[in-house]
Each structure stands twice: as C-alpha cells, then as structure tokens.
C-alpha cells in the first residue's frame, strides 16, 4: 500500500461529461484537484450519439456556459452542424442542437484539462472510498495506491458493475471497449448507499461509404451556425449534413422475429430503461400500427467514415441487427462497424443527496451524472459543474451554491433528483420547468453569469462580453421604444401585407411588436433597423409579445420564493410533529427538505401535513408575547 505524495482539495472520479466539468470548476476556483480516469484516451468521450443540445438540453448547455463551464465551448469548437429547433414556436422553447466531431470533442476536452492550472489528471481505477467517522478523505485504487483529498466527487457514468448485452450474450464492460468498475460499486454499497440498476442502449455504427445517400432527405445545419457559448466568435470547422431515412414493414418483421433472442424481451435485462429513449424493438413492439420510424444518419466526424443511425438503439443479436438495417432505404448494403448494445449499470437513488449534491450519508462525498440516475451528456455536465463548484467551495469553507427552480433548468434538475429520487433514467424536458417562459436559452447569461462571476468561475473576458451583451439589449429596447410611428399609407400597406390591422393612431415600434403577427425581423427591415443577434432578438420579442404571461410567471416565482425561504432546521425531528401521518414522517425524514417549499414537492405530502409543519415551526419560535 502506498500513498500518493500530493494531497488534494478535491478528487474527481471519472472523466466523462460530469467529471470534466467538476474537475475544471474545482480547479478554476483555485482548489488543487485530481481527476481520475480508467482510460486517459477517453476523457470527455461521447459514448452514445455525437450530438449535444436539443430541447431542455440546449438550455442546460447555455446555463453551463453562463456559469463558466466548458461544455458549450467544447461543442462550439468541435461542432460540424448547428441547428436551432422550434423556430416556429416562442423563444422560450427554442433550443440549439449541435453535431460534434466525436474524436475532436474528446481531444479538445483532454487538452483543456491538461492545460488547466491546479488540475492533475491520473489514469487509475478506484477500488474503494476512504472514509473515517462518516467523512471521506480519499480513494484507494485497484493497484493499491491511496490518494488523499478533502472532498471526493464520484462521476462513474455507466461504469458501476457495467454489463453489456448484445442478444443473449453479455459481458462486463463500462462502455464497449472499456472495463467496468466493480469494486467501487461494492464499496458504495458497503458504505450503506441504496443502489439500483438502470439500463440504457445505443445503436450500431455504420460505414458511411456503404450508405447510398442519393435518395435520402438531406438536413443541413442553420446558416450562420447558432453556436452555444458567449465566448465563441465563429464556427471554425467545416459543416456537415445529416440525412433522414425510415424503417419499414420489413424492418419491423425482422425485429419482431428477433425478439425471442432479445435480452430485453426475454427478461435477461433487469435494469430499468428510459421510456423516452426506447430501443427500436421497444418502439416496434409497443406501437404496432406505426408503419415506420424515423432515423437520423448523423456524421461521427470529419475524418472518420463512421455514421450514427440515431433512432435504432438496439440490443438484438448482431445477425438481427445486420438484417434489420439492410431493409432500410439507403442502407441496403450497409456495413456495421460496431454493434448496437444495451448496458446495465448501478446507480444510487439521488434522494440520498443534499441539494449541493453532497451525500447525506458521508460528508465530503458528492455524486454527479449517471450515478444519480440521469441520462444525457448535458444533464451529467450540469450536475458535474454544480458538484465541482460545491466541493471546491466546501474545501474553502464556503456555503454551497444552490440554484432554485425559478433560476435555472439546472435548479429544476437537481431539485427533482434530490426531492423525488428516480426509478428510471431521468431526462430533462421543458415540461418539467414550472417557469418555462422565464428559463430560456436567450436569457441564460442574464440569469446566471452574475452568479458565476460572484463565485469566481466567470473570467474577466466572459464578464466583459456579458456586460456588452446586456447593454446591447437595453439599448435596442430603448431604440424600439423611441421609434414613433404614425398612421401612413406606407405603414398600413406593410401591416396589411403581413395580415395585421392598420394603424389608427400613432404608436411606438415596441408597442407594435406586441402584435402576434408582427415579427421582429419584419419590423426591423421595415424600419431599416439592424436586426440584433438572435439571443437579443429573442429577448426583445418575448418581452414584447408575452408580457402578460411573463408577468404571471414572475408573480408565481415570488410566491414560490416565499416558501423556499421558510427554512426547516437541520435538527427538526419530523416524528415529533403532531398531526403528521406515519407515511409523511417517513418521507420527510428520508428527504430531509431544507425548506417548506421543498417539503411540499415531496410526493404524497398533503396540504394538511404542510399545515402541521407550519404550526410546529411557529410553536418552536420564541413567543412574541
């Protein structure tokens, strides 16, 4: 047994999307940090599809950027297609989505990690956590080395007792090609964590040159590319299209015939899969009357022939996989380079965490990413960032940063996890956010960059860019307010051309923008004003068009904050509260909500229970008489 010569503030276990953000955040906050990975070549690996963003996920990426995280910058630097989804809908639900070059993504992330002061990166597999008196003090590797640190962030992804299934064959692995982490899983169980098992899956990878694209629908990115980060000025890499194809009746026939050798349908897989990320066999089986399912053929990178057929994740035997893909238009002669597979892995029910992502059981120990039952790169990165920030702050004896549900999707994500726990892989949706109109990509910087700056994660350059952007927004708003418009033949002709009622009396440009049919683009070109960048345009438009609804949500937020502000002291013994049902006491004791607001979100906690707590709290207060 040896002890690593250097003692760290924060040790991060795992260098995936959560681990990288955690390690970078901690090091950037000035805390000496050690990042451990099973394979140095796989830092920031995208194990599933080569895409970042999409609805609610793009929102998370923008928030990570606003706080000073890395994911947005890495995506912008390695992206080969950028699109903005939902452009026909309101600004709150528009989201960016990018295809990245898988290889370049991890190479650039590795470079950033390697160049980060205060951060050491070491290839090692962790065997167990070192814990004394309920407090973690380091880890022990599988080759008998101890590394000591004040805080440990565990971000193990799908590696904890990972088991890959392809047909009825299965073997231990953390991801295809990498070994699983079995001892660490045992160590966590021994420490008393409540563990469960989840399942996820991925698609076969195809040889691009064996695909006939000639009759497939082509989908290019937007031009100019809508990138994620405030730090990005332009997209450097050449852009690539995706293609769209579909399964058909014959594909479905082959799949249904193959079900008898499916680990999913024969009960070999015990882990719980996500309903929103179903395998193709699941989709075909459950929606029998759907004649076809859509597949996006996504390029994996600039210098590889590999193609990711998004939409046909499968764990069917390899012969069924080959037979099935070859029924698909354009893929008649396709070669499979890597098989699709399902993977089962251990996770810890996140209800065991505090909102800082520190575990209740062991002080100084933090969990982030798939170990908490989430799925998705973006969800993982968001948690990694917050765990890294909070571990580093704890080293410096500072209060944790907790974002609430009205501030960020990150707040919604973590609040859901630690308040409700999860029994299936958790994915972010915009529908999970109560204050959806307020949590937008366009105002992510406005919401979070001041916080990032205050805690020391947002550097000078980002701060300057943010201030510039804010002032451009207010200047543009002022400009619209000051543009007086009087009824004229010219303006009324234009209004009628876009199906809007003519002006009867004078108004301002900002008033006119309130009409649903008057778009900012049209208005600017009519008035000969320069159209501001999309984020500013979105912000201007939503504030004009949805003012009433925004105000309603802001009022709701005030109410929400009031109850978040009613603190439940740490020493509160719920079993002593008269009038609480046994079930309520059990649930409250398990979650240990810090505020009355959070208590109310625990499933099964009734208004009567909340009243009982309120009354009890009041009784504990010193009498004012």
């Amino acid at each position: 047994m040896s002890v690593f010569p250097k003692k760290y503030g924060v040790i991060v276990v795992g260098a995936g999307h959560a681990g990288c953000e955690a390690a970078l955040a901690s090091a950037r906050l000035g805390v000496s940090t050690c990042l451990l990975t099973i394979n140095l070549d796989c830092i920031g690996a995208m194990s599933c599809n080569p895409a970042i963003g999409g609805l609610a996920k793009g929102h998370l990426v923008c928030e990570i950027d606003a706080l000073g995280g890395e994911m947005a910058r890495n995506t912008d630097a390695t992206g080969i297609q950028f699109r903005r989804l939902n452009m026909s809908k309101g600004p709150a639900v528009r989201a960016r989505r990018a295809q990245s070059d898988r290889l370049l993504y991890r190479l650039r992330m590795k470079e950033v990690i390697e160049g980060q002061p205060n951060l050491d990166v070491v290839q090692a597999m962790v065997a167990r956590l070192l814990v004394k008196d309920g407090r973690v003090y380091g880890i022990e590797t599988t080759i008998g080395q101890e590394i000591h640190g004040k805080k440990v962030v565990v971000t193990t992804g799908t590696f904890l007792r990972g088991l890959i299934h392809i047909g009825l064959k299965n073997f231990p692995a953390g991801r295809l090609g990498d070994p699983p982490s079995n001892k660490l899983s045992r160590s966590l169980k021994e420490l008393g964590f409540d563990m469960g098992r989840l399942k996820t899956g991925t698609t076969p990878r195809l040889h691009g040159q064996s695909i006939d694209y000639s009759n497939l629908e082509r989908q290019d990115g937007d031009s100019p590319p809508p990138y994620f980060s405030i730090m990005t000025d332009r997209i450097e890499l050449p852009q690539r299209p995706c293609f769209i194809t579909y399964t058909n009746e014959r594909t479905h026939e082959i799949i249904l015939k193959g079900l008898e050798r499916s680990p999913l349908f024969t009960g070999v897989i015990k882990g719980v899969g996500a309903r929103y990320c179903p395998s193709i066999e699941d989709k075909v089986f459950r929606f029998k009357d759907r004649p076809r399912h859509q597949i996006f053929l996504e390029p994996e990178g600039l210098k590889t022939v590999e193609v990711y057929p998004n939409g046909i994740a499968t764990s069917l035997p390899i012969d069924v996989q080959i037979g099935m893909v070859r029924t698909i238009k354009g893929l008649e002669n396709v070669k499979i380079l890597r098989p699709g597979y399902a993977i089962e892995y251990d996770y810890c029910d996140p209800i065991q965490l505090r909102p800082s992502l520190e575990t209740r059981l062991i002080r100084g120990l933090y969990f982030a990413g798939q170990i908490n039952g989430t799925s998705g790169y973006e969800e993982a990165a968001a948690q990694g960032l917050m765990a890294g920030i909070n571990a580093a702050r704890a080293v410096k004896d500072e209060e944790p940063v907790i974002l609430d549900r009205s501030q960020a999707y990150i707040g919604v994500l973590i609040d859901d996890l630690v308040t409700k726990g999860t029994k299936e892989p958790y994915r972010m949706f915009t529908s999970r956010a109560e204050y959806r109109l307020l949590l937008r990509e366009d105002n992510a910087a406005h919401r979070l960059t001041p916080i990032g700056r205050q805690i020391g994660l947002v550097g000078d350059e980002q701060w300057e860019r943010f201030k510039k952007k804010s002032s451009r927004f207010s200047q543009f708003m002022d400009l619209l307010k000051s543009q007086r418009l009087s009824p004229s033949t010219e303006i009324n002709k234009w209004l009628s051309s876009i199906g809007s009622a003519p002006l009867k009396q004078g108004t301002t440009a900002s008033e006119l923008l309130k009409r649903p049919e008057v778009g900012l683009g049209d208005l600017c070109s009519f008035l000969n004003l320069p159209l501001p960048p999309s984020d500013i345009a979105d912000q201007v438009e939503i504030e004009a068009k949805y003012q009433g609804y925004i105000k309603r949500q802001e009022e709701d937020v005030l109410k929400f904050r009031k109850w978040e502000g009613v603190r439940l002291p740490d020493y509160l013994d719920f079993s002593k509260i008269p009038g609480l049902s046994k079930e309520a006491v059990e649930k409250l004791s398990k979650v240990r909500p810090e505020s009355l607001g959070r208590a109310s979100r625990i499933s099964g906690i009734t208004p009567a229970a909340i009243t009982a707590i309120q009354i009890y709290l009041k009784k504990m207060e010193p009498s004012d008489n």
Partner: protein, 479 residues
C-alpha cells in the same frame, strides 16, 4: 405548488353554526375584505367611513342586479388588531340559512375564497395571534383540514360525479400532452401538433362538461340553500293554521327558529330533502285595518327573498280589497312562483264545493290578467282536517324543482368543488382563446397546467410525472 397558492387569499365562511341562533355571521379575512364589503354593502349612512372596529347599519345587495338581499350590521376590523391579524369583516344578519348562503356566495363572487375547515384559526396561530397555551387545540385544525381535504379527494366523490371529474382531467391531460410533445419533440415526424384536435377536446371534454357541472350546481342549489315560502292572504284565511298543519305533517321536519327579531313567524321544514323556511307575516299585531293586519309592509320587505308564495283564499269570504292588495304585490314581484290555495274546504257544502274555483276566479279576474290567472291552478285543502295537504306538499316541491329530480343533487358538485370548477373553466377558456389567437403551445400550456392544478384540488394532484406517463404511453418518441 398549489399547496401555497391559497395563503394570500381572502377567505370567507359562515361563522355561526347552521340552523342555530337568530343571528348569522359571515366572516371575511384577508386584504380584500374591505373591498368586498364595499361592493356588497350599502350603508344607511351614505357618509359611512368604515371606521375600524365600529358597527354600521345597512343593507346587503347583489352588485350585479342591485337587488337588496338583507338588512345587516357590519364591522370592519383593520389589521393587525383582529383574530387573524389580517383585515377582517363581519356581516351580522338576521336571516335564515338560505340567505346566509346567498351572502356567502356574493362574497365568493366578489373575490373571496371559501375558507378551509379551521383556516381562520390556522391564520390566527401562524400570525402569532393565539399563544402557545392555546395551541394544543391546533391538532384539531390539522385534522379538520385533513378530513376536509379527503372529502374533496377522489374518495369523497361518488360514482357519476367522480367519473365526470376524471373525464375532465383526462381531457386536460390529452391537450397538455399533445402540446408538450410538440414542444419537446420538434423533430419527431407524425407527432406534429393537431391544433384542431386540441381545440375540439378542450371544448368537448373540458369546457362543455365543466360548464354543465357548474350549472348542475346552480340547478340543485335549492337543496343546499333551501327555499323561502311566504304565506299571504287576508286575515283569517287560515295562514297560521296552514303553517301549523304543514309543520304537523308527518313528512315535514320542524324546527323552531328562536330569537327571531322580525315581526314574522318562521318555521323550518324539510320536504323531500329541500330545506324550506315557511314564513307567515301576520298574526302578531292586531290592527283594525285589515290590510295592515295582513302585514303587507313586512311581506314587501321579505318578498325579494321569497322563492314561492302560497296565496290563501277564504271561500267563505270571497274576494275583495285584500285580494287586490295581494295581486298587486305578486305583480310587483312577477316571476316568483305562486300556488293558489283554497282553504276551509271542509266548511263548504257539497254544492258550493263543486264550483268554488270558478266562483273565486270570477272575483279575481278583475284584479289580474286572465293569462296570469290561468297559471294559478288552485289547490283545495282544509288546514283543519288535513285534506289536500299531501297534494299541496307535492305541488310545493314540484314548483321549487321544476323538471329537476331530487336525485340530481347526487351528481352535482358541492360549493367547494364548484368554486374549483369555476377556476378550471376560466383557465380552459383562456387557453382556448390563446389557441384561437395562434399563440405558441408553451403559452397555451400555461393556462392548461393551471386548470389541471386547480382540478387537482378535487381529483388529487397531477404531477409532471403523470403528464410524462401520458406522453410516453400515447406517443412513440425518442431517437
């Protein structure tokens, strides 16, 4: 979140026990109390200042119709020196339960919310108004709230009504999941938002049924608030005998109304589940003037509260000045139901009995329009022998219910549920307007989510997971 929405509301309730005591109090607490008072109370002194903790005399009226509802004393108590430490208003009335409910309903219409059981005490405690020593009783508050809630939960709904509520919830969920799929899965083919379908479901499964539920509450209102039936007719037509006879009927449950301060006799009876206040205005003071003896002035004061008049004729006296007086009164309150009752049938001999209706109608025909007269199918009774009383009771019930059946009340929401449904309806309509204006689905969803939250107060809360369950069972999604 809706657990907390209510904390800021102004709440209202009848503060006195139902059916007991001659004074009824409707109490309001919250910052809208004074505004609500001003909109429903007309002080006798037009310069009334509503000085805090001072009694004022005046009349309660319906701000929509302007109709006077009751004479009352009110007191406004400004925060914090009140029971709840919020602004409190108390309206002291002298009427029976039906009128009290009517006044409560006015307060609700003007922006108050029906108080939960124990809510005034809860506010008193949370604001620090009640002290530790008194706090032990507060467990009862929680229990009361818990039982009140469970009455409103799915378990508290029965059969048909439960089905109707869950069908509304289903309709809302259908619309919300269609919108949410369109928002969160913009790239999935075949899951494009079908606006027409959402509009149709919203109208047919939400707005329509909810409006019908609300009107079924209003239709069955008479079972909850009861009805006031006023006896009119010349002195010695047998009004008090009829009153006593109806109270003596086996089918009627009678309670005394003590402490009545008006010059009227009131008896509470119940006919086929409808609480009825029978009012006789005469017989307290004897006056040489027969019209005054009929108590016409007092009747006029009460008449707007009446749901029905029983007009007694005395066949031994025929028709005259007194009947004209009554006919004028009924004309002034046109639209109220009237049953013509010919009493003392036992005293008539066979020959007269046969065409007594025709004879009396001839006398009345000079006093009112023939068409009005035709609707007055007379009921022949003898209050003394009890003859015809059963038929009269049936006529009263039929007159109050119209085409409605007593069992309809089982599928009507109660007051609390109706209040919830009204909010559901408001949000559903506002969502429909947003759809009509072509607003983006995330905007439409705001009102639909609020409608679902409101409905959750009756059907049990719907959480995001329920919506996601619905989405993933209904749509094939995910790459």
């Amino acid at each position: 979140m809706h657990l907390f929405d209510k904390e800021q509301d102004t709440i209202a309730a009848i503060a006195t026990p139902v059916g007991r005591g001659g004074i009824g109090i409707v109490r309001l607490s919250g910052n809208k109390s004074l505004a609500i008072l001003r909109s429903i109370f007309r002080p006798s002194n037009p310069h009334c200042s509503y000085k805090s903790h001072t009694l004022f005399h005046g009349f309660i009226f319906d701000p929509e119709t302007g109709t006077e509802i009751d004479e009352a004393l009110c007191v406004y108590m400004k925060a914090p020196k009140t029971y709840t430490r919020e602004d409190v208003v108390e309206l002291q009335c002298h009427s029976g339960p039906a009128v009290l409910r009517q006044i409560l309903d006015l307060c609700l219409r003007c922006g108050a919310r029906l108080a939960e059981p124990g809510e005034f005490t809860k506010r008193a405690f949370l604001s620090g108004r009640i002290h530790l020593s008194q706090a032990e009783a507060l467990k009862d508050v929680v229990d009361a709230q818990a039982s009140g809630m469970s009455l409103m939960s799915v378990k508290g709904l029965k059969g048909d009504l439960e089905d109707r509520f869950s069908a509304v919830r289903d309709g809302l969920l259908h619309c919300i999941s269609a919108l949410e799929v369109a928002i969160d899965y913009p790239e999935d083919e075949g899951e494009i938002l079908d606006q027409e379908d959402v509009k149709k479901v919203l109208e047919e499964q939400v707005i329509g049924p909810v409006s019908r539920l609300i009107s079924s509450f209003e239709n069955t209102q008479v079972f909850r608030t009861g009805a006031r039936v006023i006896l009119v007719g010349r002195p010695n037509a047998g009004k008090s005998s009829l009153l006593n006879a109806l109270c003596g009927e086996e089918r009627a449950i009678v309670t005394e109304v003590p402490g009545t301060t008006r010059d009227v006799i009131e008896k509470n009876i119940e006919l086929q589940g409808i609480p009825i206040v029978l009012t006789d205005t005469a017989g307290i003071r004897h006056s040489p003037d027969p019209i005054e003896a009929m108590g016409m002035e007092r009747i006029r004061k009460l008449a707007h509260e009446a749901d029905m008049f029983l007009w007694l004729l005395d066949p031994t006296q025929g028709t005259g000045r007194e009947e004209r007086e009554v006919a004028n009164l009924l004309l002034a309150f046109g639209g109220k139901k009237v049953i013509l009752v010919i009493n003392k049938m036992d005293t008539l001999d066979e020959k007269i009995r046969k065409n007594i209706s025709e004879r009396l109608f001839k006398g009345l025909s000079g006093m009112m329009k023939v068409s009005d007269l035709k609707t007055l199918d007379p009921c022949l009774i003898s209050a003394k022998t009890g003859q015809g009383l059963q038929q009269l009771c049936e006529r009263i019930v039929k007159g109050l219910l119209g085409d409605r059946k007593a069992k309809d009340v089982d599928v009507a929401p109660n007051l609390r549920q109706k209040e919830v449904l009204k909010k559901v309806l408001d949000h559903a309509r506002s969502a429909k307007r947003a759809l009509g204006k072509g607003l983006s689905p995330e905007i439409v969803a705001i009102d639909l989510r609020q409608a679902l939250d409101e409905l959750g107060k009756v059907t049990g809360e719907t959480v995001t997971e329920d919506i996601l369950d619905r989405i993933f069972s209904q749509f094939c999604l995910g790459k």
